[in-house]
């Protein structure tokens, strides 16, 4: 054989019941190479990798390591063969220190927590070129630190092949650069690296070769230098697709929702939103960017009336909405949808049918003690038709639907209520390209209809293309509001980390206060 692969998978098939997750997949990675595994959600990337890490076992097909056929029956086997996986959701014990997390799974160290473990772990980290504090508890770590710890962990167990499942989805631009630096160095040291992703720019940036999966089927493997983003997308989606996001120009109205000096506390009682000012006009999309957990959730909940407001004002079309019940705010036409990390926990009842989920916000309407199911069914049928939800029927439990369809149901319900302000957080979280574009279209349609949209997002490229303006939050403070077509990713990244503060840029007009604010007119009346 001319080429010796570190890992080779041949003709792998895996089924769950009648669902085929992987069918006849071939995959090979060499030492000193970064292979990107590209595919939409549900295309079987993680399933395939879980067969390497010993979590699943293929129904048929064979796996070769360094040219020898092996059988990986458990995570221990996988570790023995030098395969280490950094999962999307970190497998760390939050209350343990960095050193203890590594020590725990180390075979050589024995059952006793020795005093020299901190030194030992620090040495390992230094050997691989990392800098971590081995005494720091995991719950005190930032996301990027946790990820670094995970990487050190698999390296210290002697992994020669490292699999990273969607490693960049939780990182800022600067942190991604740093991670890619680490990956390049590991590659030079002769490690084989497989990185799972669905972000094309990252594939082009970091990988040597790309393997593409679509709906559980193996499409092809190509050298990164010989392809481009458009071609990769076509392989991934299976047809030509326009990668541009529209930003229609709409006549803007006076501010619909204005927020002044807002202070909100989080569940732990510390300040989550700190003196925030902003406004949304009808016919515009205001993006909210920020590292995860910078007060986005608290802000959304406060607007929807679900979280008490410590200080500040919220004016909707000139009326104060602070202190109103969630129901009253809903009736004013403010709808809020928040997609949490598990995608089902807020806004949808997973075991209930689409019909029943349609009723969630209006089941109280109508007299008498009975729920009007007929109306729910009619709404469900309409949303299914208009948003092209793929489902066997309107009576299918929501949890049986795929991610994109779940999110369409959620947004569909919110739009059905005919709101004038839509607050939506992470509406494309975890969605594939097709579904994401469907959601952008839905939001743009609302914008054209004169609705004000607050879009809390993760992907800066998308926000810069879709939003009219972007507000950047850092630890609950506004770092500035910038025009989406004038800003750069770097500028946003610096604002997100708090290095750059543009909130005092225009002294005559503080950020987040509209010129034609309805506040002023109200003050005028009072004076």
């Amino acid at each position: 054989m001319a080429e010796q692969y570190a890992i080779e998978m041949r003709n792998i098939t895996k089924t769950f019941g009648s669902v085929v997750a992987n069918r006849g997949i071939d995959l090979a990675v060499k030492q000193g190479e970064i292979l990107a595994l590209l595919g939409e959600n549900g295309s079987g990337k993680t399933t395939l990798m879980n067969m390497l890490s010993g979590i699943y076992k293929p129904d048929s097909g064979s796996i070769f390591i360094d040219g020898k056929e092996v059988s990986i029956d458990s995570p221990e086997d996988s570790k023995k063969y030098g395969i280490g996986m950094v999962h999307q959701h970190f497998k760390l014990v939050e209350v343990f220190s960095a050193a203890d997390n590594i020590w725990m799974g180390q075979d050589k160290t024995g059952p006793i927590l020795k005093k020299n473990r901190f030194k030992y772990v620090e040495d390992i980290a230094r050997k691989f070129g990392f800098d971590i504090d081995p005494r720091k508890k995991v719950y005190n770590m930032a996301v990027s630190e946790k990820q670094t710890l995970e990487i050190i962990k698999v390296l210290s167990y002697g992994a020669k092949t490292i699999i990273l499942d969607e490693p960049t989805s939780v990182l800022t631009v600067q942190e991604i650069e740093k991670l890619f630096g680490v990956l390049r160095r590991m590659k030079e040291e002769g490690h084989a690296i497989i990185i799972i992703t669905h972000k094309l720019n990252e594939v082009m940036d970091i990988s040597d070769r790309v393997a593409i999966l679509r709906k559980g089927e193996y499409i092809t493997t190509v050298n990164t230098s010989e392809t481009n983003e458009q071609e990769l997308t076509e392989w991934m989606v299976g047809r030509k697709i326009d990668l541009n996001i529209d930003r229609p120009i709409v006549e803007k109205t006076r501010p619909l929702l204005e927020v002044r000096d807002l202070v909100i506390r989080n569940d732990e009682g510390s300040v989550a939103i700190d003196n925030v000012n902003f406004y949304i006009r009808g016919g515009e999309i205001l993006g909210v960017a920020g590292i995860a957990g910078c007060g986005q959730k608290e802000l959304c909940e406060a607007i929807a009336g679900l979280r008490p407001i410590e200080k500040g004002q919220m004016i909707h079309k000139g009326d104060n909405i602070v202190g109103l019940s969630p129901k009253a705010i809903l009736e004013k036409g403010i709808s809020m949808s928040f997609i949490p990390e598990d995608r089902l926990g807020m806004g949808l009842a997973p075991s209930m049918s689409i019909t029943e989920n349609m009723l969630l916000k209006n089941y109280r309407d109508g007299k008498g003690p009975l729920v009007d199911r007929k109306r729910g069914r009619a709404d469900a049928e309409q949303v299914i038709k208009e948003l092209e939800v793929v489902t066997p029927s309107s009576e299918t439990p929501v949890r049986r639907l795929s991610g994109g369809n779940v999110q369409k149901v959620l947004l569909g319900r919110e739009i059905k209520a005919g709101p004038n302000v839509i607050v939506t957080a992470y509406p494309v979280r975890g969605l594939d390209i097709n579904s994401s574009y469907a959601i952008y279209n839905i939001l743009n349609k609302q914008k054209l209809a004169g609705v004000g949209v607050l879009f809390v997002g993760e992907d800066l490229d998308v926000m810069m293309a879709l939003c009219d303006k972007i507000m950047v939050l850092c630890h609950g403070k506004v770092m500035g509001v910038v025009h989406a077509h004038k800003t750069t990713k770097e500028e946003l990244g610096l604002m997100m980390t708090g290095v750059l503060d543009l909130s005092e840029k225009h002294e005559d007009k503080p950020a987040g206060i509209a010129k034609d604010s309805l506040f002023e007119s109200k003050d005028g009346e009072e004076a």
Binding site: K57, P58, S60, L344, A349, Y363, V371
Partner: protein
């Protein structure tokens, strides 16, 4: 040789039924082995048990009447528990709530039975039992809502508090204790059957149908309707499925939890009033373990109200049948039914597993 667990799709309805039937038959087979090992012919025993000794019996109607006396408290308790379980509130305090209800209804019977017409006494007994049990259930609910305590532990502990209160009443001979017979030297519960007993109606022959059976069926239909078609029933479903979603939809989750817990416990109280009101006497074993058995019934029925009625009927056949059979087979105690019940539950759970998964042998692959 290695085995792997593989997920499978839901088969047709009859196929799933087959699994459960096989589970029950297997459980009976386990019971048969045990019976045979102590020298009892399992076929004789089972035929006695499943017919509850009614075949060729001149007073078979009496057996049925006694059977229904066991059936009513069990099915009502299971229906009540299913309300809380649907909301994922793990009320395992059915025993305690039942006892509190029983004490309250006996108290009403002793205090007012002599002055009021019987129908009024009975209604008051039901109301008192529902309030007492409901409030007793609310303790765990309020603690959970206010302080986030674990309702499983709380309701479990409160069971024993209630049980020992009942023992205290049943064993303390004192002037104030009107629950006991005044003229007996030993502590014995006084009967109030003469002033408060639910009436029965003759259906032609000698068989008499107690009014509590009719009421229980009506309540079952109402609860089925309540869960499926009302706004409150809808709220219970949403809160159980995802409390966060309920909060996001603007529901007052705490209020819904408290309301449902009260309703669940109050219905258990009603079950105890039915029980006490038909037997006409309190006893330290008044619950007949329905608080526990009800949990099993609710889960075997997968919280579906019609299924709870069917499963309750079968479980009661086991329980009542084994007491009847114990008369002819002195070496088999009536608690044989409890054991059989445990094996059935276990094997039905196994069947559940096989409905969702299958086990395949791993083909030889690789170098191990």
């Amino acid at each position: 040789m290695r085995f792997h667990i593989v997920k499978r799709d839901n088969g047709p309805f009859w196929q799933r039924c087959c699994y459960y039937v096989v589970a029950v038959i297997a459980a009976l087979a386990v019971g048969a082995i045990i019976l045979a090992s102590i020298g009892v012919n399992p076929f004789d025993y089972y035929s006695k048990m499943f017919t509850m000794g009614t075949v060729g019996n001149k007073i078979a109607y009496k057996t049925f009447m006694n059977y229904l006396k066991e059936f009513v408290p069990l099915v009502l308790t299971a229906v009540a528990l299913s309300l809380a379980f649907k909301m994922r509130f793990w009320n395992i305090g059915g025993e305690g709530q039942f006892i509190m209800g029983a004490i309250a209804s006996a108290w009403v019977a002793f205090q007012f039975g002599a002055y009021l017409p019987m129908a009024v006494t009975l209604i008051f007994m039901c109301i008192a039992a529902m309030l007492a049990a409901g409030i007793y259930g609310l303790i765990a609910g309020v603690l959970k809502v206010k302080f986030g305590t674990n309702e499983t532990l709380m309701t479990l502990m409160l069971n024993y508090v209630a049980l020992y209160v009942l023992y205290f009443i049943g064993e303390t001979k004192a002037d104030w204790n009107f629950f006991l017979q005044a003229d007996s030297a030993r502590p014995v519960f006084e009967s109030f059957a003469s002033v408060a007993q639910f009436p029965s109606f003759s259906l032609g022959g000698k068989f008499e149908l107690n009014v509590t059976v009719i009421l229980t069926v009506i309540i079952g239909v109402l609860i089925f309707f309540y869960l499926k078609y009302t706004k409150q029933g809808y709220e219970i479903g949403v809160v159980g499925d995802s409390a966060n979603t309920a909060k996001y939809a603007g529901m007052k989750v705490n209020k819904i939890v408290l309301r449902t817990v009260f309703l669940s416990a109050a219905l258990i109280g009603l079950a105890s009033a039915f029980k006490v009101g038909t037997s006409g006497v309190l006893s330290t074993s008044v619950t007949n373990d329905v608080g526990w058995t009800g949990i099993i019934v609710a889960w075997l029925a997968k919280l579906s109200t019609p299924m709870i009625f069917i499963v309750s009927m079968l479980i009661c056949v086991l329980q009542h049948g084994s007491t009847v059979a114990a008369v002819s087979f002195s070496q088999v105690d009536s608690s044989f039914a409890n054991m059989l019940q445990g094996v059935i539950l276990f094997l039905v759970l196994v069947a559940d597993f096989f409905v969702r998964f299958r086990i395949v042998r791993v083909k030889k692959g690789g170098n191990d």
